[in-house]
Symmetry: C2
Subunit: 129 residues, 2 copies
Amino acid sequence: MEEYTQIFKTLSDPTRLRILRLLLDAGKELCVCELVDSLEEPQYNVSKHVTAMRAAGLLKSRKEGRWVYYSPRDTDGEFLKLLSLAVAAIPERHVKHDRAELRKRLKLRERGKCLTGVQKEHLLGKVSS
Amino acid sequence: MEEYTQIFKTLSDPTRLRILRLLLDAGKELCVCELVDSLEEPQYNVSKHVTAMRAAGLLKSRKEGRWVYYSPRDTDGEFLKLLSLAVAAIPERHVKHDRAELRKRLKLRERGKCLTGVQKEHLLGKVSS
DNA sequence: ATGATATATGCGTCTATGCGCAACTAAGCA
DNA sequence: TGCTTAGTTGCGCATAGACGCATATATCAT
């Protein structure tokens, strides 16, 4: 069962659950800096989380230039399909804020591409300089 | 989101996931000693896990004499309903053994009631005497 | 090449959690 | 009243995981 408990464990962290839900709602791949600005979590943290989710088989990634776009992995099995539906069924009020931040952030795209990094400087994970 | 991450965390342990799946498959409430003999996990361990699952809102319990019967809580919301379907969709080979042990154990019931405690003595959690 | 930028990762720390053991509660029975 | 039995709970240990910080990698621009 470890194959399945691993997936539940991955979703047992608020940041990771928010990431998956945001990606499911967005309907398009998002890069790390867009996730950072939407979730308002430090860059190194978001990066670690998406890496873990990718390892768990929940996300796939695509590198384009300096950017890495993440999206939900195609749900091959019935289990993952139903699990995604469950996550998508979390009432909207829990995800409203993240979605609003994402909408703002997506306005910075041009021709559908992300052209800049993290906008909220205090989320970079660097302290001085 | 903690309300939801808590549920995922609860299912991120193999024993707890097996308990839920077994209860979903059984279609009837099971007492602790029946779970112990089916899962072949120590009694105090199973007890702790079902207590945690009950606290997380996944199970309900009913006491009858010396026995406590557990069953999946009625899934009021869409989220829990889909989550239960996902757990029920875990391929059968992962739960075959537990189910076989449960089938054997249920033969000890009389008039639909459990009349005895843990049969596999080494799972009691007591060591000597 | 040099520097800037997007993302990833290694390390130390702190907290959370699962397990084994032992003691406890509660219900039935002699 | 005591003994047995089904289940629960508190404690200590060991491990796993999340975070912050610093640094590393990789790509692009000048």
